[in-house]
């Protein structure tokens, strides 16, 4: 019998919220949980059935937004404010679902009041660190950018208070969620915007499963660009598909934060210079840690203003199992190594992590794995500076020609740069500097794990690491490194330059 991580700790979502993963991660035999889960599920089903059978009870009542009812104070007004809804008892973590892990992120705490899951989002300005050495004044929820991930179960009654502590009105739109029109959160269209200082209530029954998002839908250009959004994960009431061991939620976003400034520029239309996963850019991203053999689900939501992101995973083939429209039937699931996550969409991929190692997981748009790329820098590749440096130094003592061979040295040069800025590329790797930034993180698959913290760099087993070829090897295989490179006939155009 295999073992897997279970969550036997208290069901308090707030402890999850703080750590981004279950607070007390012990390892228990699978059977224990299964039995518990089964019992819990049975209980829930029974409770649900009881509700359905029992009809309206005070406990199960909730306001129906927009419901027709007599005008307050009129003769027909009976004082009754609640109508019966077809929702089920709250789904509980580790009983009804395995909580998602939010790398670099948090989850929104909740409590059950009269069978309703009650959440509270506070929209406010937040100083957020996008990567070590780069902080910005963003707009977020509950002190976080992006806002904490909301996690519910299909059939839950969801009630969320939204307090606006921003200097501007705002709303919350429940992106991809099926709900009554007046709860959709489009400022002006569906509701009056929440003025600064006001608190609004959103409430509806969750009638779907899958990955959704939430974000401001008032002055979207500004508010989304400043970070007002978060993931909204809905677990199915009954498990669907193969059992999942690790479930990650990652929100993709892009920003314009000019070097030396400390606020994202919401006016930027196309020229974004900071690409993030859960609002962190490499080398600030946390790795995704998985035990070998676990089935992994990664939920990706793209809240970028303008760009789609082809997210590529090394070392595995995965299946795209969900879109934001829900579960893809098994017959329609594609094997891929890259999943395109369009703007305003979510995509979920699943795979079994059967090959240990440190595997890159990143957007394949090359400029999306750069930090604070400067677009006014001339193309210096191939330029021979000759005596230019000395000449310019008489005018500008700190000058040095850069970029003649590309950007890779950028992270290591250690030249003075403006405050609150990070190099375009460069994070520490095991073998060398990793010449990437932005939307880049590492999937770390290990045979053994001590908890789910970063296990450090992968030790490549002997003979499985690319190294410099020895002279003996070259001779053995008849490779002459000084000979002109050869090509097979059939590619006559492919001539070497020079």
């Amino acid at each position: 019998m295999s073992t897997r991580k279970t969550d036997t700790g208290p069901d308090s979502p707030s402890s999850d919220a703080l750590s981004g993963e279950p607070a007390d991660s012990g390892v228990q035999p699978e059977g224990t949980l299964t039995r518990r889960s089964m019992l819990a599920r049975t209980g829930a089903t029974l409770a649900g059935g009881a509700l359905l059978l029992g009809g309206a009870s005070a406990q199960a009542q909730a306001d129906v937004p927009g419901a027709r009812r007599p005008r307050e104070g009129s003769a027909a007004d009976t004082g009754r404010r609640y109508a019966k809804q077809d929702w089920q008892a709250p789904g509980m973590p580790n009983r009804d679902y395995r909580p998602v892990v939010v790398p670099n992120g948090t989850k929104l705490p909740w409590k059950v009041v009269d069978g309703v899951k009650v959440f509270h989002l506070v929209a406010e300005e937040v100083e957020h660190e996008l990567a070590p050495g780069l902080k910005a004044l963003c707009w977020g929820y509950n002190g976080r950018v992006h806002g904490p991930t909301i996690e519910v179960v299909e059939g839950d009654r969801f009630r969320c208070y939204v307090t606006n502590r921003l200097p501007a009105p705002t709303t919350v739109h429940w992106h991809g969620i099926l709900l009554p029109n007046g709860m959709d959160g489009v400022g002006g269209l569906n509701q009056k915007a929440i003025a600064p200082g006001e608190t609004f209530r959103y409430e509806f029954t969750i009638r779907q499963a899958g990955t959704a998002m939430y974000h401001s839908h008032h002055d979207e250009m500004t508010q989304i660009a400043l970070g007002l959004g978060g993931m909204f994960v809905i677990h199915p009431r009954r498990p669907v598909g193969p059992r999942i061991d690790r479930d990650f939620a990652i929100m993709l976003h892009e920003w314009r934060i000019d070097v030396g400034t400390r606020r994202p520029n919401p006016n930027e239309m196309t020229d974004f210079n900071l690409l993030t996963m859960n609002a962190r850019a490499f080398p600030g991203t946390e790795p995704l840690v998985v035990r070998k053999g676990e089935r992994v689900r990664i939920r990706l939501g793209n809240m970028s203003p303008q760009d789609h992101h082809p997210i590529h995973l090394h070392g595995y083939q995965f299946r795209i199992t969900e879109t934001d429209g829900g579960r893809i039937p098994e017959a329609g699931q594609w094997p891929e190594t890259t999943v395109l996550v369009p703007v305003g969409s979510t995509r979920t991929i699943e795979f079994v992590a059967d090959e240990p190692g440190d595997w890159a997981f990143h957007c394949h748009m090359t400029h999306h794995v750069m930090n604070q790329m400067g677009h006014d820098f001339p193309n210096m590749v191939g330029v021979k500076p000759g005596g230019l440096d000395a000449k310019v130094r008489t005018l500008l003592p700190g000058y040095m020609t850069m970029g003649q061979t590309g950007m890779a040295d950028m992270g290591d040069m250690g030249m003075a740069v403006p405050p609150n800025s990070i190099p375009m590329v460069g994070g520490k790797g095991k073998h060398d500097s990793i010449t990437m930034g932005g939307m880049f993180t590492v999937l770390k698959v290990r045979d053994q794990l001590d908890g789910y913290g970063d296990p450090g760099w992968y030790e490549n087993p002997l003979g499985t690491l690319a190294v410099a070829a020895t002279g003996d090897e070259l001779r053995r295989d008849g490779v002459d490194v000084n000979a002109p490179p050869q090509v097979e006939p059939g590619a006559p155009e492919n001539r070497r330059r020079g």
């Binding site: 006014d376 210096m380 590749v381 190099p423």
Partner: protein, 490 residues
């Protein structure tokens, strides 16, 4: 000033009968020295002048300073030397005025034509008598004329000194401007070189290459133009200093001094100008002498020609006669009305001219002072605010360059703009010192409390200096009770 004029008059009265060319120049020397602290000298081709030539060479061997340039000009400016000769002319006139008109000896002899009798002869010695009465007054008029001429010459000297100072500042600034143009050229050349390399690497277009090369060529031409301007400014100074040949090889290494921390007290500059300015004093003297001339004419209006003499006469057959003669012009028709009227008009004219000069002097002083303060504000603004900001732009551009956000082109452009700002600053400082010299000229001497140009050299300040209250820009006004050509006694 008056004391001087009086002293001068006394001096002249005591010994005006003989011509002493040096006297007037000595007075000019003392007037100039009092105002500039520098001696002037009248070069008259004497052995001592060789000494002066040697002194000139020593002055020019070292680096020229503003004061030294003024000294050279006072010793060597040919126009000034020419002006000094006016003093000789004027003094000759004065000596002339002190001389009595010469007595007239007349003689006649007559021979009998018929053969009868003897020859007759007559001799007379006649001296015009009126001179005895008019001589002192005439002498006074001539003396005043001489004093006025002396003042005028001294004024010319001061004006030349002021122009020397202005031109000196121009040369000084121009040397630095040439240096800056060289830096701009260096920046442009570096940019052009980078473009060439970028083009060789295949990274930029022919258009960019040509644009950047054209900019470098423009910078080269700008430098050539600035260098020509330096030559022209130097030649202007050479003319003022009266230099030619090897003496034009003088050097000037001191940088333009920064605008002084504090402005000299600028109150009562108008009064000071009226009190100090030698051209106003000369006009005042001119007016006075016209008055004296008028007095002279008036006091002699009923005197015609009076000639007194003795004569001896011998008739052919009579005794020898000897006796006095008196010839008296009867002022019946010509009572010098026209002369008096003319002199009256001329005197009024002189008064008006004096008034005009004084009013203009006051106005010019106010305008020059406003210009001085304004240029001072500009220069200070550059030094305290603009230059530190430009410095910061370069510094931050360098950081942005290091972060690969900007290219070398922008970095060099920032440097170029910094240099341009420094150039504008230098021009403001230069204009300040020129305005300073101009104000000194208009006030007729050094400004109160001001010293010769400070030794402090303007640098691109690395840090912004703490803000300082600027001197007021308002105009000082006199109460207007004094007449324009009188100075306030204070």
């Amino acid at each position: 000033m008056r004391v001087h004029a009086l002293g001068l008059a006394a001096l002249l009265a005591s010994g005006c009968a003989s011509i002493q060319k040096e006297r007037g120049h000595a007075e000019v020397t003392s007037l100039v020295e009092e105002r500039l602290g520098r001696k002037t000298r009248w070069n008259q081709g004497r052995p001592e002048d060789a000494e002066v030539a040697r002194h000139l060479d020593t002055l020019l061997a070292e680096d020229l300073t503003s004061d030294r340039a003024v000294e050279v000009a006072l010793l060597n400016n040919p126009a000034l030397q020419g002006t000094y000769e006016d003093l000789g002319v004027s003094q000759a006139d004065m000596v002339q005025a002190g001389l009595l008109s010469n007595p007239t000896l007349e003689g006649s002899i007559g021979f009998p034509i018929s053969g009868r009798g003897v020859s007759e002869h007559e001799f007379s010695l006649v001296q015009s008598f009126l001179d005895l009465f008019t001589l002192p007054l005439r002498k006074r008029v001539a003396q005043e004329q001489f004093v006025a001429d002396t003042l005028r010459v001294a004024h010319e000297t001061l004006a030349t000194a002021a122009e020397v100072r202005k031109t000196f500042s121009e040369v000084q600034a121009r040397q630095q401007l040439v240096e800056l143009r060289r830096m701009v050229l260096q920046a442009a050349e570096a940019a052009a070189e980078l473009t060439t390399r970028l083009h060789e690497a295949g990274n930029i277009t022919e258009l960019d290459l040509a644009t950047e090369r054209a900019a470098a060529e423009q910078a080269r031409l700008d430098l050539a133009q600035e260098e020509l301007a330096l030559v022209e400014d130097r030649e202007h100074l050479n003319r003022l200093l009266g230099l030619w040949g090897p003496r034009t090889q003088w050097t000037l290494s001191a940088k333009l001094p920064a605008v002084p921390e504090e402005e000299a007290a600028l109150e009562k500059l108008e009064s000071l100008a009226i009190r100090q300015r030698l051209d106003i004093d000369a006009a005042r003297k001119q007016s006075a002498l016209l008055w004296n001339a008028l007095e002279l004419a008036r006091s002699t209006r009923f005197f015609g020609r009076v000639e007194v003499g003795v004569h001896t006469h011998r008739d052919a057959d009579g005794p020898r006669l000897f006796g006095p003669t008196l010839s008296l012009e009867l002022p019946i028709f010509d009572q010098r009305q026209s002369l008096i009227a003319r002199l009256e008009a001329q005197h009024r004219q002189g008064e008006r001219r004096l008034q005009e000069l004084s009013i203009n002097a006051r106005s010019e002083v106010r305008a020059a002072r406003a210009r001085l303060l304004s240029l001072r504000l500009v220069a200070e603004r550059y030094r305290r605010v603009v230059l530190p900001l430009r410095e910061k732009v370069v510094e931050q551009s360098q950081l942005q360059y290091n972060a690969m956000q900007l290219g070398l082109f922008q970095l060099l452009a920032a440097r170029r703009e910094q240099v341009e700002a420094y150039r504008a600053y230098l021009e403001a400082v230069r204009d300040y010192w020129m305005a300073h010299a101009e104000l000194e000229r208009l006030v007729g001497g050094r400004l109160p409390g001001s010293s010769a140009g400070g030794a402090e050299q303007p640098q691109v300040p690395a840090q912004p200096a703490p803000p300082e209250t600027q001197p007021g820009h308002g105009q000082h006004r006199d109460d207007g009770t004094e007449s324009p050509h009188e100075h306030t006694q204070d």
